[in-house]
């Protein structure tokens, strides 16, 4: 990887991380205000089979995979 690319990579990852850390402490809800967040449809992955299926399809048809988790791999389809 070129130095320039390395630098931009660092920027891409560090800036959001720093922003996240500094912003996080003032965000959020009280523990008793999680009624909406506790709903099934508010979970990050609502349908694990569908997520796995999609990861598998896109892993075998595109050059990218994962991101949300360790999606897709483990087949001779790529």
């Amino acid at each position: 990887m070129s130095n320039k690319k390395l630098y931009s990579m660092k920027l891409i990852f560090c800036v959001p991380a720093l922003l996240a850390i500094s912003a996080c402490s003032s965000l959020g809800v009280e523990p008793w205000e999680r009624d909406v967040l506790a709903k099934d449809e508010m979970q990050l992955v609502t349908d694990p089979i569908e997520a796995a299926t999609d990861d598998h399809i896109y892993f075998s048809k595109e050059a990218s995979s994962g991101g949300r988790g360790f999606g897709g791999g483990g087949c001779g389809c790529n």
Partner: protein, 457 residues
Amino acid sequence: MAVADSVVAVVAVINQKEGNPVIKKKPKSVSKALATATCALLGTTAMPVQAQEEPAWEFNTALLYYGEDDDRVQDVSIALLARRLFADDKILTLGLTVDSLTGATPVGAAPLDVVQTITRPSGNSTYDVAPDTLPLDDTFLDTRYAFNASWQQPLGRLYNGNVGISFSKEYDYVHSGVNAGISRDFNKKNTTVSLGFALSKDDIEPIGGTPMALTPMLDVGDLSNRLGNETKDVVDLLFGVTQVISRNLLVQVNYSYSDSSGYLSDPFKILSVVDPITGDTLPRVPTPGVDGPSHQFLFEGRPDERVKHSLYTQAKYYMSGKVLDISYRYMTDDWDIDSYTVDARLKFPIGNSSYIEPHVRFYTQTEANFYRATLSAGEPLPMFASADYRLGNFDALTAGAKYGWKTGSGHDISFRLEYYMQDGDVPSGQLIGNQLQRDMYPGLNAIIFNFSYGFGL
């Protein structure tokens, strides 16, 4: 006895605290709190009713059909996911998938205005490709069995850990992997930081052996440029932060690193060797009396290492019953592939127990630095080359919807229908002579249909 004592104690505390300005500020909120609490007192149920048992097992089953047009790949798969819930949020998850693949897939060779004869990957026979059509290998047939298991449990009040294994078997491919992760909650569980890793080891065992990179496709029965089995190792690391923004909004940001090493080529993909002026694939004469390729093809060769970085961010937003789920992923790797993915779905409730969820997904990627539509006979052989369209420059679109409902007995049923299309092109500088008039990039149109059924026991 104790009653009198505690009254004294309380009074004593009141006296002690008098004069403290904080006390003067407090009464309002407390009386308000009390008033609120007073509003509704729900009577204590005197009936000795047994509390409902939590279901111990949750099952999710799905049937998937994925079908590409032009008789290309068709995949029918059945998936079963079982979750056993143990006391105190410990969860065992077991997954089993069987998929059955049939159909034809592009081999990487360029179309030509004459019939092309190509040796099958096994080296046992040949097949012909009609003029002006994209060469497809129709022997693509496989059944894959995949199994995975994971265990997750809280570790104390703030930590959560998980470990898992995965295993899959195809006719010519075996995968085994382990993974583990840990997460910690901060800031009243509004912030969750997670770390995970996965290791996998795959064995590639194609019939006839794996071809040596960038060596010619030979006559039937000639396996002199085939090696034995190969392996591939993948290390994945993931660092994620999940943040509750408000009562209705949740955001996740993940960085993941993936290092693959070993045999990363596709043993079934080839490249056409073309005339540097006309761009037509150079002819070849098989040994007399033996079937063999009619033109010059080389097996592809990719680098034996690939490092990917990706940044994934997802937001879930609840809007009075509707749920918006948006994600964005940026991926870059040392093969110079950059990709961007935007995925959005919006779940609308219909009545009390059903919903519809439209979904769109955009994907775009740049080509790998060794992607070559063809190899020119006039140039020195590159170190690496692949004409696999999946390493090319293309855009993809998925659009569809899911409809689901909950039955009277609490089972979940859903149907999903989606359309997936890819559209790409060969970088213009790579096209030579007659290639400019030919459709050199395969493209793809597919239907995805899903039926899923979930229930608890």
